[in-house]
Amino acid sequence: MKFATPLKNLDRELARFHGRLKVGAVFVALLATVLLARAFYLQIMQHELYIQRAESNRISLVPTAPNRGLILDRSGRILAENYSAYTLELTRAQIDDLEATLAEVGKLIEITPGQLRRFRRLLAESHEFETVPLKSKLTDEEVAILAANRYRLPGVDVKARLFRNYQAGPGMAHVLGFIGRINDRDLKRLRESRREQNYRGSVHIGKTGLEQSYEALLHGRTGFDQMETDASGRAVRMLSRIPPVPGKDLRLHLDAELQAVAEYAFGDYLGGLVALDPNTGGVLALVSKPGFDPNLFVDGIDPETWKSLNESPDRPMVNRVLRGIYPPGSTIKPLMALAGLELGLRKPGDSIVDPGYFSLPNSSHQFRDWKRGGHGVVDLQRSISQSCDTYYYRLAVDMGIDRMHDYLAQFGLGEKTGIDLEGESSGLLPSRDWKQRRWNKPWYPGETVIAGIGQGYHLTTPLQLAVATAMLANGGKRVEPRLVQAVRDPLSHAWQPLPGGARNQVAINPAHLSVVREGMMDVMRPGGTAAASAAGAPYTIAGKTGTAQVVGIKQGARYEASRLAREHRDHALFIAYAPTDNPTIVVAVMVENGGSGSGTAAPIARAVFDYYLTGKRPGNMKLEADDAAD
């Protein structure tokens, strides 16, 4: 062993070791500096950011959806109400194998093919993180089965949801409309109107009818619970709470019983009827047949049913009262007569001799009266009661299309009535100006002639006819039809009236108006065109029949309803008000392919008048137990 070298080495090694210790100490100090610098950055410099993130981790706002307002008829019968039910809902993002999950759920509870189709359609329309209902209104047993198996079905949930029940059925569908699941379009609209936040807890939104037009009142204000939640999203405790404010209840002018009577009176016919209070514009009944079951839409409709509703030739989804546009036909005559008087073109006593046709000067074309051989001597009052076409051919020519347009426009023809429902059609009130703009063609004199009896370019909705008739009944006040008469504040429970609107007041010479009214009363008196429909009524009616052509009748050919297929028959029209001394109800009826106004439309109006004015129901109408009033 060499001693010298190892000893020297020992000293050198010890010195080197002490040097290395210092390097080690510096190294550790460096690491500690890095750690404390990082802690300084997180805890001092970024503290505000992280405290905020910790708070948003901890606190979650849980929206609580408000109860939707109820819809009641004028006497408090519930037309639309809420109920809570359990639904089976799936969240796509939480499910690995959707088909396997669906098969598994199908083994536990019954899922119909329709429910499955509806689910797939809703799934295609929603985002991955949204929950989509597979089956609603689960029975207690189904809820129990699903709850017991939930642990092995991630993404499958049973939730208590509020639903809407429209117990009045298909007859009320066109008035109430329906609510449906909020879709992308609804969301976009809500976002644009900055109402998105208020729908955070909501599943449904009004899609059509009153549910749509009064959405803002019916929905209410969403409440928020500020919850402290743990990492798994479980609520630990409530920090604060803003309670939801329920939606406002709506009370309608509409009488559910009257509505049922009107619907019943239609029998097998399709068409539309609207009854107004001529003084307020309140809608007493609004029937569009056929209807549909609005309950189908609440939870998402399955594609088959939707297709059958949408493609049915009867077009049940179209509200005929608002959107059905037809030539007004003879129902325009009272207004034409009034125009003749007011414009100084006719005097009440003036009369013509009707040969059964009218020809323009220097023309051989004959515009025929509906009555072969004519009505003989006809004054203004008789022209209404007999519905003399020839009288109005001549009056129209004397008046000219522009004056006709301007006068009739005051009665709201060619313009939306402003009813509190969306989707109304404005019809068409023709004029020289309109034809130039629309078709870039001049107006022909022959077009004026047929315009005089409400044919040609004229198009009106039953609602427009009802408003014009209301103006004859109330002396010229153009009311805006209103379904809702009052709203109830959910907190104070006080009803607050929602006043109806009135557009303009047409100044009418009372003497002129009374002649026209007499003519309309004559319609319902023996010898008048609709006398049969007034027989035995304990009140007096003023009315006017009309027909709207469906297929053109050739020059010289006669219209014979019995020879035509039903769908080619004329639409029957009837307008009326009663009682005549102090009118409280106006009715406009359109019966699709009804043939004649007097034959099919007037009896329906009579049934409505009877029930409204005397409480009498149609003879064989089954009495339904009145729904208990609210």
């Binding site: 020992l10 080197r16 070791f17 802690a39 503290h47 405290i51 981790n57 990492a231």
Partner: protein, 366 residues
């Protein structure tokens, strides 16, 4: 029983007072934080107390074993560890995609744990034997002793543990006098080989590194842990939210919060002031360890004391760095703070070795 108490006192004289106080303070803090993190669960607290008791017992026993005896344990422990690692490679159980566990029938354990002390002990024993004669060949042999377990653990695969064990071996070679040019050369070579290493890394290892660089890229997966723990630490602020008042902690947002992520709980509830105090305690232990190393009479004692000190802080750095989002998530507990018996016993065993080195000076000199 006066005789018995006298015996105990004499034995206890081998404890280093400064280290003992520092360790006890840290364990006290650990008890408080684990209590808060577990929602003051009596089972957790009792379990922790039992672990602490056991580990302190081990420390006292080891402190009373003279270093020259401890050094003799190195070779057999090292050989046993390597043999077990080979056993793992051949017969080991696969858990979470890597072969780390050896099932002994009555218990499963990770032989890599054993190497955490066995490797420094072996190297220190080897250099002690060749004291005064150290040449290049000794460092080559030392490197080989380091590389065998390192590579075996690396291919389990367990990059985190391999690096930690590699670091302890490297510290020992460094304190033994590994030439600077070798260190620098190795460093440059290592840096150059990083792209190659990246290619050899397993998917999950690459993901961990990527998640570290941008935790928000995987907010619901691996990034969640880092995001939540940095939120916890950052929201603690200067003074913290107070003991048991951390919302990230109490509402379960912090993962593994009694074990690997215990610093997130501490940072949230005690703030930056707490963090400075905690790092200060660790620095004090390291400083005391380096002083013991400087004063140690034997090469074995010097190397062990210095290596154990640096090793301790390396664990502290890797854990805190991971929890505060500057290092990848590797399963390394915070020394003396995290709940967990094995790690605590290993650590206090190391403290025991430090104390043994510190208190057996006179005996060895003679």
């Amino acid at each position: 029983m006066p005789r018995t108490s006298h015996w105990i006192l004499r034995r206890l004289s081998h404890l280093d007072g400064i280290l003992l106080v520092l360790v006890m303070v840290l364990l006290g803090i650990s008890l408080a934080v684990v209590a808060s993190a577990s929602g003051q669960s009596p089972a957790r607290i009792t379990g922790h107390l039992i672990n602490i008791g056991l580990a302190l017992g081990v420390m006292v026993v080891i402190a009373n074993v003279p270093p020259h005896l401890l050094s003799k344990v190195g070779p057999p422990l090292y050989v046993a560890g390597v043999v077990l690692l080979i056993g793992v490679a051949l017969f080991g159980e696969i858990r979470n995609g890597s072969r780390r566990w050896l099932n002994l029938g009555f218990m499963a354990f990770q032989p890599s744990e054993l190497l955490k002390l066995a490797l420094p002990l072996m190297l220190a024993w080897y250099f002690q034997r060749n004291e005064g004669l150290l040449r290049a060949k000794h460092f080559l042999a030392g490197s080989a002793l380091l590389l065998v377990p390192f590579l075996l653990i690396l291919r389990q695969p367990d990059l985190g543990t391999a690096l930690m064990i590699g670091a302890s071996g490297f510290y020992l070679l460094f304190f033994a006098g590994l030439p600077w040019k070798v260190i620098l050369g190795g460093g440059i070579l290592g840096a150059a080989s990083l792209p190659v290493m990246w290619g050899l890394m397993h998917d999950y290892q690459q993901r961990r590194v990527l998640t570290l660089l941008d935790p928000s890229s995987d907010p619901l997966g691996a990034g969640y842990h880092i995001i939540q723990s940095t939120i916890a630490i950052g929201s603690g602020g200067l003074f913290g939210k107070g003991w048991t008042q951390g919302t990230q902690n109490q509402l379960d947002f912090i993962p593994e919060r009694t074990t690997d992520f215990v610093f997130a709980v501490f940072g949230e509830e005690f703030g930056y002031v707490g963090a400075i105090f905690l790092v200060g305690l660790y620095l004090a232990i390291v400083a005391r360890g380096l002083v013991i190393a400087a004063r140690a009479p034997t090469l074995f004692g010097r190397l062990m004391a210095a290596t154990l000190s640096l090793n301790l802080f390396t664990y502290v750095f890797v854990n805190m760095g991971m929890v505060s989002g500057i290092l990848p998530v590797v399963g390394v507990p915070l020394p003396l703070m995290s709940y967990g018996g094995t790690a605590l016993i290993t650590l206090l065993l190391g403290m025991g070795i430090l104390m043994s080195v510190a208190t057996h000076r006179q005996l060895n000199k003679s």
